[in-house]
Every structure is written in C-alpha cells, then in structure tokens.
C-alpha cells in the first residue's frame, strides 16, 4: 500500500498515469468501431506503418548527415503521422469489389510495414535502442509535453465524433443503406479512419504498440460481450480501458513488472472474467 502511495507522489508517474488514461480512453472508444467492423487487424497494421514512418525519418536523416555532413534532422513524428494517415485512408477508401478484399490489404500493410521497418532499422546509422524507443514508445517515458499533446488529440477526436457519431455508426453498420439514402459512405469511412490513423500514430509514440493494440481491441471486446446497447458499449469500453490502464500501471509499479504487458494482462483478465460471468449467467 505504501508503494502505491509513493507512486502517486512521483511527478513522472502522474504524467504516466494521465497519458495512459487518455490513450486508453481514446483507443478504447475507437476500438468499438474497429471490433464492430471486424477490422481488428487495422490497429496492428497502422501501428506498424507508423513505426515504419519513424524508422524512415531516422534513416533519411542519417543519409543526409553522411552525404552532406548536414545536421538537418527529419522529424520522425510528422512523417509517421503522414504515412499512417495515407495508409488509413487507403484502407477506408478501398472498394469492396476490388481485386483483393480489404482484409488482405490490411494484412499486406502489416507484413510489408513490419519487414521494411526492421530492414530500415538494420541499416540506420542511429543507435538501435534509440530507433526502437522512438518507434514503439514507452509508457514510463511519457512527459508533460506528451500528456498535453494526447489531451489535444483526445479533445479533437471527442469533438469530431460527438458531431459526426451518427454518420460513423451508420456507415460502419450498413454502408449500402447509407449510400441508398444519399449519405456519402466512402467519405465518412475515410474521416473515421483518419481519426483512427492519427490516434494510433500519436498514441504509439506515447504508450507503445502493444498497449495501443490492447486498448483498441480488449476493452471493446469486453464491452460488446456485456453489450446491451450501442451507447452502453462505447461508454463501457472507455471505462474498462481507463480502469485497466490505472490498474495495470499501479500493479506494475508495486510488483516491479513491465508496465505494458501488465496493462495487457489486466485487460485480458477483465475480458475473461466478463466472458465467464456471462457464460454462468446464461
């Protein structure tokens, strides 16, 4: 207990908790769309594309330095963000009657981005640990600047989704009916995936790929197992995500465990408990 009190007295842990809670809230909310659309792999694929963006930025900076002796550093975050947004839009805009199903495109993005990122890291002049840290983030390294950035992200996503929630739900549920009624289903799909892409790109830098993927899938799955209504599912996912993040960080601090995997373990335990409870109840 004293260790838990100690945790809340440390400034850096307050940033860690605040940052992780914001990431948990946004990703758990967006995760409901991802799980309902049966596009769980989207989170993993966009995470890898974002990582590739970071690796490419550092690689190109290294090339510029070695060729011209310049110290012009290419900013990793904007490049990762741009690449993720392009990938998200491509995934959203793909027509169903294309040569390959959307799931295949997502799988190709995941495999290609993962392989390329590792190759780029291997030939990068930057220290591998530095590159990996930038690519996959670290919950415990969240500082006040990142908390502010995540809060702005959360606010932006909240505003866009509060205004266009009806459109996002409709085109996710029945894009054909939406088109029949004159709603531009492709446009709203692209806007929805844009918010998902931007969120994943920024959240990964702060919390890491594993934690972000966890928040995109497990709280939504838990909420949908409980799911009484669509609004209940969104609200429950946020509550489960935020509670899992706080519990995970606290347990990892007290028991001296790695924070990311502990958050995942807590989320999994919550999901399994809910599934077991549901099974018993029926």
């Amino acid at each position: 207990m004293s260790k838990l009190v100690e945790m809340f007295q440390q400034d850096f842990m307050i940033n860690v908790l605040a940052g992780t809670m914001i990431v948990a809230a946004i990703c758990s909310y967006l995760g409901v769309f991802i799980v309902l659309r049966r596009a769980v792999f989207v989170g993993a694929a966009l995470a890898q594309v974002s990582s590739l963006g970071v690796a490419l930025a550092l690689f190109l900076t290294g090339i510029l330095e070695s060729w011209h002796g310049m110290h012009a550093e290419l900013p990793p975050q904007p490049i990762a963000l741009a690449l993720t947004v392009v990938a998200a839009v491509a995934m959203a805009a793909q027509r169903r009657e294309g040569h390959l199903p959307r799931e295949t495109l997502i799988g190709v993005s995941y495999a290609a981005a993962s392989g390329l990122a590792i190759l780029v890291v291997a030939v990068s002049t930057h220290a591998e640990s530095e590159v990996l840290n930038l690519m996959f983030g670290n919950v415990l390294a969240i500082d006040s600047g990142e908390v502010f950035l995540l809060a702005m992200l959360g606010l932006s996503v909240a505003i866009v989704h509060a205004v266009f929630f009806k459109e996002f739900v409709f085109v996710s549920f029945d894009p054909d009916m939406a088109t029949a009624l004159g709603v531009n289903a492709r446009l709203w799909n692209v806007v929805l995936f844009l918010t998902i892409g931007v969120t994943i790109s920024l959240a990964i830098r702060a919390a890491g790929a594993l934690v972000v993927f966890d928040f995109l899938v497990l709280p939504a799955a838990t909420a949908l197992v409980l799911g009484r209504s669509i609004r209940f599912a969104f609200a429950t996912a946020i509550v489960v995500g935020v509670a899992s993040s706080v519990a995970g960080i606290s347990i990892s601090y007290v028991a001296d465990l790695p924070s990311g995997p502990t958050i995942v373990a807590v989320s999994t335990a919550v999901l399994l408990t809910v599934m077991a409870g549901r099974k018993l109840a029926t």
């Binding site: 049966r38 009806k166 549920f173 939406a178 088109t179 029949a180 009624l181 004159g182 949908l224 669509i230």
Partner: protein
C-alpha cells in the same frame, strides 16, 4: 405515368469483368417491378447500380430524368445485417431518417415519432426496444421494411426479402408490400431468384438467365413460349385460387 428509374443501354461489371451489357428498361412511378434471376445472374449488380454503389461502365442510369441519384428505401437481405452491432429495432428504423438529416444533425423527436410509427405500420410496434439479433426472421425483415419506409422515399428496393422464410412468412411479406403500395403508392423493385414468388404480384418483370435478358409486363413474359425460350423447360402458367402460378 412518370418514369422514376431508366437504364439506357447500360453495361455493368467489376473492373474488366462485364456482368451485363446493353441493359435498357424503365421503372415507373407506383410500379411493382420484379428482377428475377439465379445467383450470379447479375440481379444484385443491377440493384447495386441503382443504389449508386457501382457505376455503369457504359450507358447511363437516369433518375426521374436526371443523372443525380435519388434516395431509396432499401431492404437488404437479413444476412447482410451484422448482428454484432447491439442495435434495437427502434435504433435501426431511426437510421432510415439519416438520409434526411444534414451531416452532424441529430434525429429530432419527429424523426423518432416517425420511426415508431413505421414499426407500428409493419406490425411490430411492441418490439421497438427489442434487440435486432434477438428477433425472429420475420420480425427482422419487418424491421428492415420499417427502416426503408422511414426514409420516405419514392422507391423501395428489396433484395430477396423473403429469403430463408417459410411459405407463411413469404405470404405475409407480399401481403405487407401490397398494403404499403395501396396506402402510399410507393414503387417497389423486388429482387428474387424465385419466379413464382412474383408471378402474381409484380406488374412487370426483368428476367435474367445465362446472359439473356427479357423485360416486359408479367402477363406477357409468363407464357410457356417465353419460359421455354428463357429457361429451356416446358412450363405451364395457370390460375390457382385466383392467382397466377407457374407449373413445371
């Protein structure tokens, strides 16, 4: 009678694969128009072109004389609805109003009233709060009908609305369509693979079989000669209990 939808020498397909070509027909206001063909014959492709999900690779589709698409009430196959979404019947029917609302505008009390009214209209008003996934096949189909009606569109497009239903269910759905048409004068485009289902109810038919297309009034198409020409089978068309049926 005004023409609502007109296909003018339309070719439909996906990328380089042509599904149907040289397609010309018109659907009039208030008409019950049937599209009949086996799986893979192109009937759903025609429906998707009407909805604007795919564009013709040649020719053009006009809606009330213009090329801007019109709003449709669309009744998809039940299997098309993803039951992972925990929607109630009320929430699904309310979606029929979304095409009438500008982006970002929430449904009003009036929209909610119309959604409830349409649920009553199709005979499941008491099930408004029931989850779609927990409903029977007939109740689900009625919910999708109510959603299409809530759109207040001039045309209802129905994709195999009686698929998976028993005879009683099929009869109930066709009765419902007849009642809706009598009350509101709405046009109906009904897609099915069972010719007998529309033998007595559709006013005109579009028959698709092995690349052949025949369009015309039901009584002109449902003759032993045309059926033999289209399907290569000897069939009789008889009146049973006052209804037209095809007998093989």
């Amino acid at each position: 009678m005004n023409t609502l939808i007109e296909f003018r020498d339309v070719t439909l397909g996906y990328r380089r694969h042509v599904v149907l070509s040289g397609l010309s027909f018109a659907i009039d206001e208030g008409e019950f128009f049937g599209i009949v063909g086996a799986n893979g014959s192109g009937k759903t492709t025609i429906l998707r072109a009407m909805l604007g999900i795919i564009s013709p690779t040649a020719g053009r589709i006009e809606f009330a004389g213009r090329q801007e698409r019109m709003r449709f009430g669309y009744v998809p196959q039940k299997a098309h609805i993803d039951e992972l979404f925990p929607f109630t019947a009320r929430e699904i029917v309310l979606m029929g109003r979304y095409g009438l609302l500008p982006p970002g505008r929430r449904p009003t009390d009036e929209d909610r009233r119309i959604a409830e009214q349409q649920l009553e209209h199709v005979g499941i008003g008491a099930l408004a709060g029931k989850r779609f996934r927990d409903m029977s096949g007939g109740q689900k189909q009625r919910t999708l009908f109510a959603r299409a009606l809530a759109a207040e569109a001039k045309v209802l497009l129905m994709d195999e609305p009686t698929e998976g239903m028993d005879l009683e269910g099929q009869h109930a759905i066709l009765e419902l369509i007849g009642r809706l048409r009598a009350e509101s004068g709405v046009s109906v485009v009904y897609v099915t693979h069972r010719l007998n289902e529309l033998a007595d109810s559709a006013e005109r038919l579009l028959l698709l079989h092995d690349g052949q297309v025949q369009v015309g009034p039901t009584e002109e198409l449902l003759t032993p000669q045309v059926l033999y020409q289209m399907y290569g089978v000897h069939a009789a068309v008889e009146m049973v209990a006052g209804k037209r049926v095809i007998v093989l």
